[in-house]
């Protein structure tokens, strides 16, 4: 029993040492330069799947740019309303409501895009993709306090 306990402790210590050395000293996996390369290798995409996802990205790009433009404009408007004197409370409230609505639209559009990308993958890889990416979307509840910045 004593020998078994000593052997177990030795094995644990060796495992911990091997883990520590590998984690801190081994070169970390190279992250690909672009997202499509990463998607292809990480989710084992076929050529057809990669091409379909590239098309989705190309279609989504203008939507994303437009949303970015609208968010920046609304933010600029909010900042100017906040700092103006006298402050127009009604206009500020309307701009806040518009910002909330806009953020909700952006969030939904991005989520739909992620789901469309996942649908191009195999079911298991698609599920794994959504588990990895959906939590990283900026959380936007319609009740969340606004930040005009």
């Amino acid at each position: 029993m004593k020998t078994f306990a000593r052997l177990s402790l030795l094995a644990l210590a060796v495992a911990a040492l091997a883990f520590g050395l590998t984690h801190w000293l081994a070169p970390h996996p190279q992250t690909p330069a672009d997202e499509i390369t990463w998607l292809t290798s990480e989710f084992h995409l076929t050529t057809a799947q990669t091409a379909a996802i590239e098309k989705l990205h190309a279609a989504y790009d203008p939507v994303c740019m437009e949303h970015c433009r609208l968010i920046r404009e609304t933010r600029t408007r909010l900042i100017s309303l906040k700092t103006s004197t006298p402050r127009d409370a009604a206009a500020y409230a309307a701009a806040e409501a518009e910002m909330t609505h806009l953020k909700g639209i952006c969030h939904d559009a991005t989520q739909k895009h992620l789901e469309a990308v996942a649908a191009q993958m195999s079911p298991a890889e698609g599920r794994r993709f959504l588990v990895l990416t959906l939590p990283k979307l900026s959380a936007q509840s319609h009740d969340a306090p606004l930040d005009p910045r």
């Binding site: 094995a11 644990l12 979307l137």
Partner: protein
Amino acid sequence: MNDHDPKLSRVLKIWKHDPAPTPDFAKTVWSRIDAPTQAPAPSFCAQLVHFPARLPLAASFAVLLAVLAGTGAGLALNHSRATDHMAAAYVRSIDPLQMTDASNASHSSHS
């Protein structure tokens, strides 16, 4: 019953043994009694060099498995972190809210 061997009795009567005198006989006996009965313990370095040969087979397998398990866990953690980092970068590149937050932050730091 008489089992005496007359010839043996005659030999034993005339047999004499005179050992050569040993001046330090007592000292020799005592030093042999006091000497350690086993070889001195090998040094730590000698033990380390011969460690694998002294390790039983089962223990060798246990250590080998532990190395493989630890290394595998370390590599898996590294890969998982890299994947998570890339997933966050991918979402940042398509989420207008995060893109505008990032550009706003860089404008604030430059102003």
